[in-house]
């Protein structure tokens, strides 16, 4: 079940504490930017009442106090952990900042830390982003934001797998039954088809399935593009002679007649060897359609404010994520500064993640500093662990929606004494003699 729903939850809060109902909350977890969430807060306990399953898990908090900061496994006051982090950073020659799951202020703080100490920066969820940037930076594309999709899209083409598992409320948000500028919509699933729940949800729309095995998506899109350009299936050496060719030819006709077609994919979920090609083909098809009609891409992504992280990097350093800031200049090299690659030559890992208890990547060549979710479980105890608050739970903050245009204000729900990642970063940066 992925609809927002009243969640039956009878957990009691702290005895005697009043329970507050908070409504219309914005959510920063998956990037879809839902802002109608509801929670009940009793003391430190947060019980989600209206939320998708992912948000429900990530919003829930118990009544107990969060853990305190630790250095070498020993609990210490925050100031001492901050000093230890600054000492490690000052001694480092090749630091890697990973995770980067935080709000805009947290990202600004991490950027400042990188300027002070030198580090490469990458986000834990940037793989899909870079598969998209491969096309966006090389050729560009025409995209749409969520409200354009909602109001205008009459043909939605979903490439690959059903996005429901990763973006639970996508269809509810993107193609509601009523739309301003279109009376009927056609949903096309080019790939593995809709799940049963999606099929139910889209019952009011026309549904077309074009089954394509994951490894053949690039060729299928090439075929679709060829049909749209008025070329036949002949150039595909028989590969499009069967049912797929017929389906694609029919889809090409449907797209030609569309008033506003939108292509959706989740680049992170596309099969690795051809993900970039799929994105490239989809953008090329949209470019072709725009010659005579209107169409746009809507790439899914944006978990844990990865889109915001990329935006902040661009206005701070002029480069996307996967950039090294080395004390004199910054240098962007996506192949070198992707977290996994950068860690091979690193002597320190600073892992920052305030949205979810994601452990840092494996690293043993130097100290690990974790500015992390309080519930993070570590495979090996980091040299410094500073539990930080979650934006939208422990403090207010700003995050970007996946389309990169709309920013949402997240609210503070409770006070559990957890610091903002931005404040911890500022304290480390301000440390004397580091």
């Amino acid at each position: 079940m992925t609809e927002p729903a009243a969640i039956d939850d009878t957990t009691e809060g702290a005895a005697g504490a009043a329970t507050r109902r908070l409504t219309d909350l914005a959510c920063g977890f998956c990037g879809l930017g839902c802002d109608d969430l509801e929670v009940a807060v009793t003391g430190r306990a947060v019980r989600p009442r209206t939320a998708c399953p992912e948000a429900a898990v990530l919003l829930r908090r118990g009544p107990g106090p969060p853990p305190g900061p630790r250095v070498e496994g020993r609990e210490v006051p925050l100031a001492q952990a901050v000093s230890a982090a600054a000492r490690h950073l000052a001694a480092s020659r090749a630091a890697v900042f990973s995770g980067l799951g935080t709000d805009v202020d947290g990202l600004r703080g991490l950027a400042d830390l990188a300027v002070r100490f030198g580090a490469s920066l990458d986000h834990a969820g940037s793989e899909g982003l870079f598969r998209n940037l491969d096309t966006l930076q090389r050729t560009g594309w025409i995209a749409a934001t969520l409200a354009e999709l909602r109001t205008r899209c009459d043909v939605l083409v979903v490439i690959g797998a059903d996005p429901r598992r990763a973006y639970g409320r996508f269809f509810e948000r993107a193609v509601p039954p009523e739309a301003l500028f279109t009376d009927d919509r056609t949903m096309v699933f080019l790939g593995s088809g809709p799940e049963a729940a999606t099929r139910d949800q889209l019952a009011g729309h026309r549904l077309i399935e074009v089954p394509v095995v994951p490894g053949f998506l690039g060729e299928a899109l090439a075929g679709l593009e060829a049909f749209l350009r008025g070329r036949g299936a002949a150039e595909f050496a028989g590969a499009l002679d069967g049912a797929l060719g017929a389906d694609l030819a029919e889809l090409a006709e449907l797209l030609r007649a569309a008033r506003y077609a939108v292509f959706v994919w989740d680049a992170a979920d596309l099969p690795a060897p051809q993900a970039e090609e799929v994105v490239h083909r989809a953008a090329a098809i949209v470019a072709q359609l725009n010659r005579a009609g209107r169409a746009a891409v809507f790439p899914l992504g944006g978990r844990d404010n990865v889109v915001g992280a990329n935006q902040v990097m661009l206005w701070r350093f002029g480069h996307p994520l996967r950039t090294l800031v080395d004390g004199r200049a910054s240098r962007h090299a996506p192949d070198l500064y992707a977290t996994a690659v950068a860690l091979r030559d690193a002597d320190l890992l600073l892992h920052a993640d305030s949205f979810r208890p994601r452990p840092p990547p494996a690293f043993s060549a130097g100290p690990v500093i974790a500015l992390a979710h309080p519930a993070t479980e570590f495979a090996r105890e980091p040299e410094v662990f500073i539990p930080v608050g979650t934006p939208g739970v422990d403090h207010a903050g700003t995050v970007f929606r996946m389309d990169g245009i709309v920013c949402l204000p997240l609210e503070k729900l409770r006070d559990a004494g957890l610091p903002r990642l931005a404040d911890v970063a500022a304290a480390i940066r301000a440390e004397d003699g580091a």
Binding site: R150, A296, G318
Partner: protein, 549 residues
Amino acid sequence: MRVRVTNGRVFDPASGWVDAARDVLIADGRIVADDLPQPGETVYDAAGGVVMAGGIDLHSHIAGGKVNLGRLLMSEDRRAHPEPFGDFCGCGGGRALPTAHATGCLYSQMGYTAVFEPAMLGANARHAHLEMADIPNIDTGGYLVLGNDDAFLQLLAQGEGQDALNDYVAWMIKATQSCAVKLVNPGGISAFKFNGRSLDLDEEGPYYGLTPRRILGALQQAVTELGLPHPIHLHGCNLGVPGNIDTTLATIAAAEGFALHLAHVQFHAYGQEGDRRFSSGAAALAAAVNAHPHVSVDVGQVMFGQTVTASADLMAQYRNHRHASPGKWAGMDIECDAACGVVPFRYRDTSFVHGLQWAIGLELFLLIDDPWRVFLTTDHPNGAPFTTYPHLIRLLMDKPFRDAHLARLGPAVRAHTGLGEIRREYTLEEIAIVTRAAPARALGLADRGHLAPGGVGDLVVYAEDSDREAMFAAPRLVLKNGREVVRDGAIVALQAGSTFAAAPPCDPQMDARMARWFDEAIGLKAKHFRIADHEIRGGRGPIRLECRP
């Protein structure tokens, strides 16, 4: 803290001081009446220097979605312009689209102290404000793009009264913390979403059946009745289209006595005379501006070299994308609000069209008589990066220099422009008007653009130099709020700037109406669209511009 700037030649046309030998005294960040020197005051000797108020750019794309998309798309610009040498302050680089930090530093190094982002989309306003908060040393503000927003077009098409339109505009300005209203290709961006490829002033757009003239008229009335200090800031129909001078002249006539600001008019002053069907409409446009005292313009001068064009006008950018250099571009339909298009562009002095664009911009500067109604811009980065301003100033002030550059262009360009016959050279007084006094007045910034008591202590000392480009490229001294930020052309300190915003009153019933619109159409809560004061400039809030209905 008292600061005295002495021995300089003061050019403050707003106060009537032109080449005046007088001290400027600043106490606690504000200019005060001159007084006897006191012990402990900081004295700057401006001997041999020209003293002006801080520069103000009222049309420069410095923050928000299209700017950041441009940085992403045009990584070549960033690679070609790395961080400056010296102590690294994390400023990043770039020229056509510098980082937020570099934008503040580069403007401040030229003596500018306030710059306005002229195309802030409501849906993207929070982002634009986040970026502006990271721009040091200059004050900022954003103009809200209206006139293609479905909420407004629906109200207008349904025949809602002017009061309801005014309430909508007021609600949107306050919600987005904007300081003025911008119209970009009124109705045209919306039309492109319905596959309209062009829309002229009196053409009915698809779906709503509204003409740009009607949209412009309704918003002009709203802005006037709400008492916003700046009139409608218009990027008109048919940008870049040969022959668009007719539309531009008709637009001026359509203003019907309302104040109107026409943005980047160079891109709207094209005829189609001659064998190449592309000619200068500058003389006709300048004559119209001269004859209509309620009209002001900024020029949007083109300079040769690599840049990026970034605009909310996706209809025009789609048309232009085939000229992209390097050959890539990005566009986006945005949130029932407007759109954006980013197209890298290289203006070449060997191109007839580009050469004539260059000449048309200069003709406009030189043929419009009243410097109080023409503002110095390149529509950064669309005509050229703002860092070309000192060169542009020299072109305006130095006829032999201008003629030498004109002589480098092809004979076809020279045959199509009357630029060589224009003898006018801008004076220092006129430069002070077009770069600070006039834009301050046009935006209603009562305490900027002059050096009279009550003004903020934003002051620049340029070393007198017959090479005006060198003179305006590296001021000897820049004070922001009375404190030194630039010395001898180099940044010596960083200061947080402020952001201007207006908050015209609106009927509280608009809240419920907008809540319904956002719920039903947009799928976002109106309360999350609204930007709180504490979100501006890191919690310091905006400087409120006064509205005078």
